[in-house]
């Protein structure tokens, strides 16, 4: 690896992923700073989710560099190791443990020793319960704490998954379409929550809902056909002719 040691938290350079010759990511480059929030927009199939797959070790890029904290080569690590480094992810379709209670979902996500022996012998200290209570409060699921996660509404599941992300205490959060299937009020609340989280952590949010992206008020990157089309403030990006042509104008 001859990649430069960068001061940025996440550094993607020239990343290419092809599926049977089709390039889902095409020489993508992107840098995210510590405690930065970035919104990613772009048409369906632009490669937004694939980019998250590369960062979290689900997909191996055919080419390119992916560095975390300047020194960890993400392309050489698997999902578990990357999660341990401090990268958490919310999926496009909410994935929670449906048979577990809301509380247990958070318990499993809580930053703790992850080995089989540690979990087999773990006693739950009061401090842990306090953390869970605080998280439940934050994602407004205190009333639902004993319900099975599978019984929650779509929006509640999205929030539970964000709560699980917070429980992991990651340095970087990847959040794929958090507002999908939410009411306007829920969407606005989610934007508030994310802004609050971004005060102490780096966050990458993928979203199609422009009102939501505007609410976030952060730097925007527009992807198209696997590479960056435009980057800057939302106003600047939405004024870009190419962006209007391939995405916003439709």
């Amino acid at each position: 690896m001859t990649a430069p040691i960068t001061p940025t938290l996440l550094y993607l350079d020239n990343v290419t992923v092809s599926f049977d010759g089709f390039r889902a990511l095409n020489a993508l480059s992107l840098a995210i700073d510590h405690a930065e929030m970035r919104a990613i927009i772009g048409p369906n199939g632009a490669g937004k989710t694939t980019m998250m797959d590369v960062i979290t070790g689900k997909t191996q890029p055919n080419e390119g560099t992916a560095l975390f904290e300047g020194s960890h080569d993400l392309t050489a690590l698997d999902e578990t190791a990357i999660a341990e480094l401090g990268i958490g992810r919310k999926f496009q379709t909410p994935t929670v443990f449906e048979m577990h209670t809301v509380e247990d979902n958070l318990l499993l996500a809580l930053k703790n020793k992850r080995g089989p022996l540690a979990t087999l012998l773990s006693r739950r200290p009061a401090r842990e319960q306090e953390r869970i209570d605080a998280l439940l409060e934050r994602v407004r699921l205190t009333v639902q704490r004993h319900r099975r996660a599978g019984e929650l509404s779509h929006g509640q599941k999205q929030w539970l998954e964000i709560g699980m992300l917070l429980a992991q205490e990651p340095k970087l959060l990847l959040i794929d379409e958090p507002a999908a299937g939410m009411t306007d009020q829920e969407t606005a609340d989610t934007a508030d929550l994310l802004r609050d989280i971004a005060r102490s952590k780096a966050v990458i949010v993928v979203e199609h809902d422009m009102t939501f992206v505007r609410d976030l008020g952060v730097k925007v990157t527009c992807l198209h056909e696997g590479s960056v089309l435009a980057e800057g403030s939302l106003d600047a990006v939405s004024a870009n002719e190419r962006v209007v042509e391939v995405y916003l104008g439709r």
Partner: protein
């Protein structure tokens, strides 16, 4: 919350029933006079003991299949290996009382013209060593097998198929005389265990009670495992494996740990089974045996532990009755039962009973309280 309290009640019920069996069976066999309605005849004691061993085997399968989604179709192999370890101990106890009266070599070795005991038979004349092997041999095989399978992320039906291949390969290996384990006759003609004659009524009672204790211990161990945070991770792996990885759990380590533990439980079941049936041979490795265990668990109710015990007892009692009354129909009955349960009781007998219980208690609550039902539900 409701499920939690249900499990506690379930534990009480299971342990009480097992305690009752451990007391009643010896009493009905030893104290009740022959001819009285309460008397349990001698040949029924090892038969019941056999069922109890099968229940422990079913429990071990439920631990991995019900709670971690690992469908092993080769657990009969671990059961048989535990059985062989015990069988080797029992062979060594025969001493010079074999047909050929060789003081060291078991009959089949004399028959094959072998001059000395193979190295892997050393130590088996001592029960503690044999008992250790009952755990270590199946445990090691499961560990090595699981290490390769889980690391390469072999899951689902592919995993099931290679477990079938494993038990089939072992069956072929054990059929060979050069294996040094009795070839297709296996190990049999046992005389004594710890100095007590294996055929004696009192020994059989003792073995039965031991099997019940092993089942109770196995049940409590499984209950403890699935109730811990470790157990919650297992269920997470079962329901959303890749999500669990993204949370930072090493899924393959969890699978390996629970698979190895389960194989050891199966080994114990096999070890208790062999002195009660008096023989262990390669047919115990038959792929169909392992499939039958999965049917017991499915019938009783997967992922409940108690259901595995119930299923094993019911199906095997049914098998005994059928093979005596209508032998040619047993396989059809078993197949039919499996189809019926899959179609109409996907959560098994215990799952269906739980649903019924919850529905009726909900109705009861709704009737008692004047509030509308929607409010009473949560």
């Amino acid at each position: 919350m409701r499920t939690q309290s249900l499990f506690d009640r379930q534990t009480t019920v299971v342990l009480s029933l097992l305690a009752a069996a451990a007391i009643l069976v010896p009493a009905m066999n030893g104290l009740a006079l022959p001819g009285s309605a309460l008397h349990l005849s001698d040949h029924l004691v090892p038969l019941l003991g056999k069922y109890v061993c099968f229940a422990l085997l079913a429990l071990s399968v439920d631990l991995i299949w019900g709670f971690c989604g690992i469908l092993s179709l080769g657990h009969g192999a671990f059961f048989a290996l535990g059985g062989y370890a015990m069988g080797m101990y029992l062979m060594r106890q025969i001493g010079a009382r074999g047909v050929y009266s060789d003081p060291v070599l078991p009959d089949f070795m004399v028959f094959l013209n072998w001059k000395e005991l193979p190295w892997f038979w050393y130590g088996f004349d001592w029960l503690p060593f044999a008992a250790l092997m009952v755990l270590l041999v199946p445990g090691t095989l499961a560990f090595v097998f699981g290490w390769f399978a889980f690391r390469s992320r072999v899951t689902g039906v592919y995993f099931s198929i290679i477990t079938q291949a494993m038990t089939f390969a072992l069956m072929l290996a054990f059929f060979r005389n050069d294996m040094g384990l009795g070839g297709n006759n296996g190990l049999t003609d046992f005389k004594e265990i710890l100095g007590f004659p294996v055929q004696a009524g009192s020994t059989r009672i003792a073995l039965f009670v031991l099997s019940v204790l092993a089942l109770a211990g196995g049940y409590l161990l499984c209950r403890w495992v699935v109730g811990s945070t470790f157990g919650k991770v297992l269920v997470a792996v079962r329901d959303a494996e890749s999500r669990t990885r993204f949370l930072g759990y090493r899924v393959e380590h969890y699978k390996l740990a629970v698979f190895t533990l389960s194989a050891m439980l199966a080994g114990v079941a096999g070890a208790l089974y062999v002195p009660q049936v008096g023989i262990i041979n390669p047919s115990e490795f038959a792929p169909a045996n392992s499939i039958e265990v999965v049917i017991w668990v499915a019938v009783g109710g997967r992922g409940t532990l108690a259901g595995a015990i119930l299923g094993a007892l019911l199906v095997n009692a049914g098998k005994t009755w059928f093979t005596a009354a209508l032998p040619e129909f047993w396989l059809f009955a078993l197949g039919g039962l499996f189809v019926f349960v899959t179609l109409f009781m996907p959560r098994g007998i215990l799952g269906a009973a739980n649903d019924l219980w919850e529905r009726s208690s909900q109705k009861l609550r709704a009737r008692r309280s004047p509030q509308p039902v929607t409010q009473a539900a949560e």
